[in-house]
């Protein structure tokens, strides 16, 4: 009911949402967030991106975030899938999908999970551009997004 997966293979967000929806006919709403690799960052064309992570800690962190979301809201299931390794523009990087009886809880839980994933889960992005490769800087807006939840 709560699936968390880190994988180097591409994934299809639609399949994840379908599995979540199929889980329970009491589900009234599914909110999902798909994070996609953009082809431009800070004005430069990005050809590929490589995602490094901290195996073990990543899974633990995501599990703790999903557990917290389930404590805060009445959910009927969730799926979190995150790519690692090399990917190309427009590839899905992450999917967070949450099902609930009422939509407000699904919206809140979905945004909560992605906000904390962004600031707590040990993933690091490295972009390859025509100028060479560079590690992506953390965004202050992500810290602000996390701070709203007052954990």
């Amino acid at each position: 009911m709560n699936e968390i997966r880190i994988q180097s293979e591409p994934f299809d967000p639609n399949i994840e949402v379908d599995i979540l929806r199929a889980g329970n006919p009491a589900i009234g709403g599914v909110v999902s967030f798909i994070g996609l690799m953009r082809d431009i960052n800070e004005g430069e064309t990005v050809s590929t991106m490589t995602l490094e992570h901290y195996p073990g800690m990543t899974e633990k962190t995501l599990q703790a975030i999903v557990d917290e979301a389930n404590q805060r809201w009445d959910l009927l299931g969730s799926r979190v899938v995150h790519r690692v390794g090399e990917m190309k523009p427009a590839d899905p990087i992450v999917l967070v999908a949450v099902a609930s009886t009422h939509r407000g809880e699904a919206f809140q839980a979905c945004e909560f999970i992605i906000d904390f994933l962004k600031t707590r889960a040990p993933f690091w992005k490295k972009e390859s551009t025509s100028e060479g490769s560079r590690w992506v800087d953390a965004r202050h807006s992500d810290d602000d997004a996390e701070a709203r939840w007052k954990l």
């Binding site: 901290y54 995150h82 040990p122 992005k125 590690w135």
Partner: protein, 83 residues
Amino acid sequence: MIKVLFFASLRERLDEESLEMEAEGLADLGVVLMRLRERGGIWSEVFAADQTVMMALNQEMTGADAAVKDGDEVAFFPPVTGG
């Protein structure tokens, strides 16, 4: 002994994925960080006081005041950028 891991830009700059340290005398993560800084060269740059370095103890994000004991897994890394 404790195991110390480095990730992302830290790993690349230090050209080191992991190392082991004697646990004795390591009161907390702040002391571990200081020991790494004392190695000099690139180590003193990466772990300089003005650098933003995040740390984890046994795979949980924590701060410099977290107590360290024999057998612990410690990690240092830049702010995370997943999602």
